[in-house]
């Protein structure tokens, strides 16, 4: 099953490589990994998407917790949460394709953020499946590049991951 593990980690050089190294050394898979600073500059927040059986996910969280730099973590998949991913897509857009792509972007609530005579860049946020769907809906020959941030997430309600 897919799990989104949200980690509060010391903002120190090497902290990221400890997490990445743990996954490669123990053969766990990482689907995506995002990391950025939090409101407290000494802490980073990492969101890691992985897949595995319950046993493997249990080991992953235990092993992550063992890393000295890891302050706290939660498995978002265990409770109600909101998940968002940012995507930017550069698409060939000429002739009557320009209208078609624009309306497609509208349907998916994307924004056109850059325009040239022959291209658009579309920005879109949402759950990863929505972004997948948009990419699938565009003729693959016209896609120049796709940049995705990987999902990040936050739990609903009063509960939160903080010190």
């Amino acid at each position: 099953m897919r799990h989104i593990i949200s980690i509060l980690i010391e903002n120190e050089s090497g902290a990221l490589s400890r997490v990445a190294g743990l996954f490669s050394a123990r053969g766990y898979n990482i689907e995506s990994l995002t990391v950025a600073i939090t409101e407290d500059p000494s802490l980073s927040r990492m969101t890691l998407v992985t897949r595995g059986s319950e046993e493997i996910i249990e080991q992953i969280t235990k092993q992550l917790n063992k890393l000295i730099d890891v302050v706290k973590l939660i498995d978002l998949a265990e409770s109600f949460h909101i998940e968002r991913e940012l995507m930017m897509v550069k698409i060939k857009a000429t002739g009557n394709m320009r209208d078609e792509i624009r309306s497609m972007a509208d349907i998916f609530r994307g924004k056109i953020i850059d325009v040239t005579p022959s291209t658009y860049i579309i920005e879109m946020t949402g759950a990863s499946e929505k972004l997948d769907a948009f990419v699938a809906a565009i003729d693959s020959d016209s896609i120049i590049e796709v940049v995705r941030s990987g999902p990040t997430g936050i739990s609903r309600g009063e509960k939160g991951l903080h010190l």
Binding site: I9, Q59, K62, I68
Partner: protein
């Protein structure tokens, strides 16, 4: 007080109470060596290879419980230390390793003798630190000792760039009394509910067994384990790392379990209905094939590291905590409980165990004209009255030492279990002897293993650490040969060396005593004279039976109940007999 980084580092170690540093100098640590030269509190042991430094510090740590300290230079000094760091990591041994590093401004430029020590050691340390600011040095050292020695112990590397130790940059020094790390809290609150459940299960058992490991040694909980086991009257088995935590000569102890454990210990595991694992980590050498592991048992597991619990074997009652307080709490509950161990069931269980013991799985040919390695260990046990510190290398000799030297005290058996590092024994023995100058220290080794760190014979002379090297010389990498005999139709591919050195001359060249032993009747007198030479290191080169194998054995893919014995059992299985 204002001090240079080099002096701060040395003073911090002094303030931490460090007695010995095992090290080897080089460019990146010259400032540090200069600071060491100017003090007398810490004794520096100059090894002959950095691997030796790590194993010697490790031996010191295993035999005392105190962290071992290592100092090496950058680049090759650091990489040479990696095997020893990984060895300590696998067996959860507290160590602090200080490695020199190139100066901060040139890190990353492929500078002379630069390696990414933080990157290289990341997967085999509990934690590592790169010191980037001399004002944080003392605090970093305190943190390193704190992390290394608390919770599940392990090695910690401090990588110190040369400019951090420069003599002309002085900063205020104060060694912190205490440090906290917000993301590291080794103190766990023990879940009383789990303890209660565990005690209920334990007291309801019909065929219980206590399976204890290295965590009892690491957690200094021998006394508690002994009281617990005696109170219950249950059989106990130890892992290779747990030997000595419960007296081996006690009748409740049914020996080691696992691949080369006793028949009775493995059969009892297989047939048990309740297992309590105490500071043991269900290693693959212990479990055999996982699908076949203990099919009838409910399992309780006490471990300080949650990641050790249900890692390979799912357990029914996990208890996260230090062995010592957990056992104390369990004892209280057992005493208060109205339920008592089931005497009738227990008597039957012991009867069944006696039938397995009757198989006499550790028997060997006592009439042989050749020297049997098992006999040598028995004699070693006898000559040292079972009270020596015994280090070992890796191979058949290690297993024989584990099987035939009956350790009654913890921290007496010093070996590399998790990594299985050949070359460990000799330097470890030096570390042990430094820590226990009045004790007998023996290193049981093989002619292949001993050559991996043989250069440390020179260290043993310089620091006058009289140890006794028991070389079970079978002219084979016996352990490899055994596997080739059993699983590769005797194709002995490269498990033999044509040119084994004359160890007697070699020992003498290093300034020690060398004795070669060819006949069984020479073994005892040679051991006696070796241990009587109190102030000499003696190398006993003992020509043992080349073809001897370690029995019993669980072969690959088999379960506990399916051991290969020296003398095969009849066709009736013991389950049927019982």
């Amino acid at each position: 007080m204002e001090l240079s980084g080099a002096k701060i580092l040395v003073q911090s170690l002094i303030d931490e109470g460090v007695e010995y540093i095992f090290g080897y100098p080089g460019g990146a640590v010259l400032h540090l060596y200069d600071a060491l030269y100017q003090q007398e509190d810490i004794k520096h042991i100059l090894v002959r290879h950095e691997q030796g430094a790590t194993h010697a510090a490790d031996g010191y740590a295993r035999s005392t419980g105190k962290p071992g300290v290592v100092l090496v230079t950058s680049g090759p000094g650091a990489t040479n230390a990696v095997t020893g760091i990984a060895t300590a990591y696998m067996d959860s041994i507290p160590m602090v390793i200080i490695s020199g590093q190139v100066s901060l401004p040139v890190i990353g430029s492929d500078a002379f003798q630069e390696v990414d020590m933080i990157g290289i050691t990341r997967p085999c340390v509990k934690h590592n630190f790169l010191v980037k600011d001399v004002t944080k040095l003392a605090e970093t050292i305190k943190k390193a000792f704190y992390v290394a020695t608390t919770g599940r112990p392990g090695p910690v590397v401090i990588d110190v760039p040369k400019d951090i130790t420069a003599p002309h940059i002085k900063v205020p020094y104060k060694y912190p009394k205490k440090v906290t790390i917000r993301s590291y809290n080794p103190v766990v609150t023990i879940n009383k509910g789990q303890i209660k459940k565990a005690v209920e299960l334990l007291l309801s058992a019909q065929k219980p067994i206590i399976y204890s490991g290295g965590g009892v040694v690491l957690g200094e909980a021998s006394k508690e384990l002994t009281a617990f086991t005696r109170t219950l009257g249950y059989p106990i088995t130890n892992t290779l790392m747990g030997l000595g935590a419960y007296p081996s000569t006690d009748k409740q102890n049914i020996g080691m379990l696992g691949m080369h454990g006793t028949y009775e210990a493995n059969m009892a595991m297989h047939e048990s209905d309740v297992i309590i694992a105490i500071g043991a980590r269900f290693d693959d050498r212990v479990t055999g094939k996982l699908d076949l592991f203990c099919p009838y048992a409910k399992i309780i597991h006490i471990d300080i590291d949650p990641a050790s619990i249900s890692k390979t074997v799912r357990v029914d009652i996990p208890i996260v905590g230090e062995v010592k307080p957990v056992l104390e709490l369990m004892m209280e509950l057992i005493k208060e409980s109205s339920a008592k161990p089931n005497k009738k069931a227990l008597a039957l269980w012991w009867q069944q165990i006696a039938t397995w013991q009757a198989v006499d799985c550790l028997q060997f040919d006592r009439e042989s004209p050749l020297i049997k390695p098992q006999y040598v260990i028995e004699q070693l046990y006898d000559v040292t009255k079972g009270d020596a510190y015994v280090t070992s290398d890796v191979g058949q000799h290690q297993m024989w030492a584990a099987q035939y030297y009956r350790f009654d005290k913890p921290r007496r058996w010093i070996n590399s279990g998790g990594l299985g590092t050949m070359g460990f024994g000799l330097p470890a023995a030096i570390g042990v002897k430094l820590a226990h100058p009045d004790a007998d220290v023996a290193c049981v080794t093989g002619e292949a293993s001993i050559q991996m760190c043989i250069q440390e014979l020179s260290t043993a002379l310089q620091y006058k650490t009289p140890i006794k090297i028991i070389n079970l010389n079978n002219r084979y990498m016996g352990m490899v040969r055994q596997w080739q005999e059993f699983s590769y139709e005797c194709r002995y591919s490269h498990s033999y060396m044509d040119t084994i050195p004359d160890f007697v001359k070699l020992a003498e060249a290093y300034g020690h005593v060398g004795i070669r032993i060819d006949k069984p009747e020479e073994v005892r007198p040679a051991l006696e004279s070796a241990f009587n030479m109190k102030d000499r290191t003696v190398f006993l080169d003992i020509m043992t039976d080349r073809t001897e194998n370690v029995y019993p054995m669980i072969e690959a893919g088999k379960g506990h109940h399916d051991m290969k014995l020296r003398v095969a059992l009849g066709s009736t299985t013991d389950r049927e007999l019982a």
